[in-house]
């Protein structure tokens, strides 16, 4: 009786888990079917069409879009990590007039959803001459309060001895941050990097608005283009393209799930 009870919950959990995975499975398996069988009601394809992937790769702008997304996401993430760590450190460790006001002011930006400001943001970015360029994709995406907030939390628990040692060594305050604190921030940088990278890899609406040049198209745009662009792309090819586009996130997910979970936890607590 007890054994049955001990098995019930895991079984329920796994069954529900399978339900959560089912759509992903549907996509994966659909990407391996032929065009006529793509909607088949069967768990496994009758024939495995690996060529769907080569078709999706060669007949779309996916390769270029992936390079663009990798480039934009990487630059945004790297710059954001440095800027956000700088602000987080200042807010956590330095005493200066207006500290709590600046902090509250920065946090309040969390309450402004992007889609509300997309239009004026577009107009401003355009007036800055950044429309239709990599800079236009990158610069406005760098700034948000999440990273600043989490870095601040991290630096609040930072050992004071290290700073004092740095002061005795003759390092300036900025030097203390760049030479001592920042290099020791790996535990927060890793999960945040993953989070930022994923968020920017996901980005669709902003690139859609700010770029007109086909050469600047990012992954999510290319996918949306394949499925709704007006010309007919067979479902099996669309799904294959989706699988290709999902690969980087899945790889990141599997090698860094632990950090991902850490990162999510940090956003929730405190």
């Amino acid at each position: 009786m007890l054994a049955v009870k001990r098995l019930t919950l895991p079984t329920v959990g796994i069954l529900l888990g399978l339900l959560m995975l089912f759509p992903i499975y549907t996509m994966a398996i659909g990407s391996l079917r032929s065009e006529t069988h793509v909607f088949d009601f069967r768990l496994l394809p009758s024939e495995w069409e690996w060529s769907n992937f080569t078709t999706a790769w060669t007949q779309s702008h996916l390769p270029r879009a992936i390079v663009n997304s990798l480039f934009v996401s990487t630059v945004v993430t790297v710059v954001a990590m440095i800027f956000h760590a700088m602000s987080g450190y200042a807010l956590a460790r330095l005493r200066f007039p207006g500290r709590s006001l600046v902090f509250a002011w920065m946090l309040s930006t969390l309450m402004v959803p992007f889609s509300i400001i997309m239009l004026p943001l577009y107009l401003i970015t355009k007036d800055l001459g950044l429309a239709n360029s990599y800079l236009g994709l990158i610069v406005p995406s760098i700034f948000n309060a999440y990273g600043i907030f989490l870095f601040r939390q991290f630096y609040r628990d930072f050992p004071r001895e290290l700073e004092e040692a740095a002061y005795i060594e003759g390092l300036s305050l900025a030097g203390t941050f760049f030479k001592i604190a920042f290099p020791l921030s790996v535990p927060i940088i890793v999960p945040l990097t993953i989070g930022f990278f994923l968020a920017n890899w996901n980005s669709y609406l902003w690139p859609l608005i700010i770029t007109q040049n086909e050469k600047l198209r990012v992954v999510q745009q290319e996918l949306a283009h394949l499925v709704g662009g007006g010309y007919f792309t067979p479902w099996n090819i669309v799904l294959a393209a989706a699988v290709i586009a999902a690969m980087p996130t899945f790889i990141l997910f599997f090698i860094a799930q632990r950090y991902l979970v850490e990162g999510i936890k940090m956003t929730g607590i405190k």
Binding site: F103, A104, S108, G230
Partner: protein, 446 residues
């Protein structure tokens, strides 16, 4: 956590205060700079494309939307032009239709990145013409070329006696059908509305749709519906285009007829491919489909094993044959610094040597040329297979697609959907849309 939220709240309040202060002091100064920026941006596309004309080639940007085969044609056209003269160099970029019509072209102009040469749809025509984004092309027509065009096709692009764009194709609509499916079901090719409805009802079986019509709102949605209105003599706007003529029994009837196919499940509300693709018939997922001349080449090349044929659009009792003649137009950016060179290219491409125009209308896609000399030169092609049906039975009933502003298109599309989804019947939808169309006209003419 609570603390965090509280301080965020304080910050938010502070932000609102700061905001009002910023707005209070802002307008005057930013007014000037912003308008300077906007007027500057309009011209900057042109400036950027004419780098200090010191013996260097003028660069012209050319945007369009097209499929792969069509893209190839335009690429080779641009290459040929770039090779044969050394004054200008054309840079060609192409987009998909969905993005091009909605966001890409308008935002490109708004960002000051607008092209010198571009394709324009009837829905955007008036807005662009009024914003000075279309140059008058009249002076650039080669000798005798104007007379070669069908008068109606030039009328459709003329505003205040200025020819604002160059028409280069006329795409007509027809009823395509799968001969075998009709034969098997013992259904004759429908000629009237009642027959079309009955045929769709008989032919709808399981996963095979009786009649494919576009289900989603957009310019194409309206484009396919207009003939049903025109066949009875109805119209969206009054003759002079200043008032709504939508609240009429003809509109109600056309809306009801359209909506019935969807409400009764004879036309799918969700399609696997764009409604303009012949693939629905090609894959045997549908028995009939209303689609245009452009579908012929694909039907013949990709789906040659499927017995696809075409007939004129069915008409109502006592009605008159009518079909839509759509097609995009070539425009030259009126704010370009090189209007003349841009116009020369456009004329070279589609108002000069008939062979180039003929290649477009027959080899790349199938469409009618608005030029009599081109149709004459391609006589043989225009009488081949399904093309003969268009030439002999449909061509004469063509009415050019109206250039209603997109605000009006939107209201008409809403009315169509209200009937499709059973919210209103045709009469009520027409009555409800009527004042909205007048509002939209007023808004669009601002």
């Amino acid at each position: 956590m609570n603390k965090l939220l509280k301080s965020a709240g304080v910050g938010a309040a502070a932000m609102l205060l700061g905001l009002t202060a910023a707005c209070g002091s802002g307008p005057n100064k930013s007014d000037q700079s912003a308008s300077a920026a906007s007027s500057g941006s309009a011209g900057s596309a042109a400036q950027a494309s004419a780098p200090a004309n010191g013996g260097k080639k003028i660069k012209l940007k050319f945007y369009d939307f097209h499929t792969e085969a069509e893209e190839k044609f335009f690429k080779s056209l641009v290459d040929e032009y770039n090779r044969t003269q050394d004054r200008v160099e054309i840079e060609y970029s192409t987009f998909n239709q969905g993005d091009y019509t909605t966001t890409k072209l308008p935002t490109a102009f708004a960002s000051g990145e607008g092209p010198d040469i571009y394709m324009i749809s009837p829905g955007d025509f008036m807005k662009f013409a009024k914003s000075g984004l279309m140059a008058d092309l009249s002076p650039y027509f080669p000798e005798g070329a104007k007379e070669d065009f069908l008068p109606a096709s030039l009328d459709a692009v003329t505003v205040d006696n200025k020819i604002m764009a160059l028409p280069f194709e006329l795409e007509l609509l027809g009823l395509y059908y799968n001969e075998d499916m009709l034969k098997e079901a013992n259904v004759a090719v429908p000629k009237t509305w009642d027959e079309l409805y009955a045929a769709a009802k008989t032919l709808t079986k399981g996963k095979v749709a009786g009649l494919v019509l576009p289900p989603d709102k957009g310019p194409y949605f309206n484009f396919i519906w207009y003939p049903f209105l025109w066949q009875q003599g109805g119209s969206v706007l009054s003759e002079d285009g200043t008032k709504s003529a939508f609240n009429s029994p003809e509109t109600a009837k056309a809306l009801d007829f359209w909506g019935r196919f969807f409400r009764e499940g004879l036309s799918p509300k969700k399609l696997q491919a764009g409604p303009w693709e012949i693939d629905h018939l090609g894959k045997k997922e549908a028995a009939m489909q209303i689609v245009g001349t452009w579908a012929i080449n694909r039907a013949e090349e990709v789906f040659k094993d499927v017995p696809i044929n075409v007939a004129p659009l069915p008409i109502p009792e006592g009605g008159q044959a009518a079909t839509d003649a759509g097609g995009w137009k070539f425009a030259v950016n009126g704010k370009s610094a090189n209007v003349e060179e841009a116009a020369k290219f456009v004329m070279w491409a589609f108002a000069g040597d008939p062979q180039r125009a003929l290649k477009w209308c027959t080899e790349v896609k199938f469409a009618y040329s608005p030029r009599q000399s081109v149709v004459e030169a391609g006589k043989d092609i225009y009488s081949k297979g399904m093309r003969k049906v268009f030439t002999d039975e449909i061509y004469n009933s063509a009415i050019p697609e109206p250039r209603y502003p997109s605000e009006v298109l939107d209201v008409v599309g809403d009315a169509m959907q209200q009937v499709m989804y059973g919210k209103y019947d045709g009469a009520k939808a027409a009555a409800a849309a009527d004042p909205l169309i007048n509002d939209a006209l007023q808004k669009a003419s601002k």
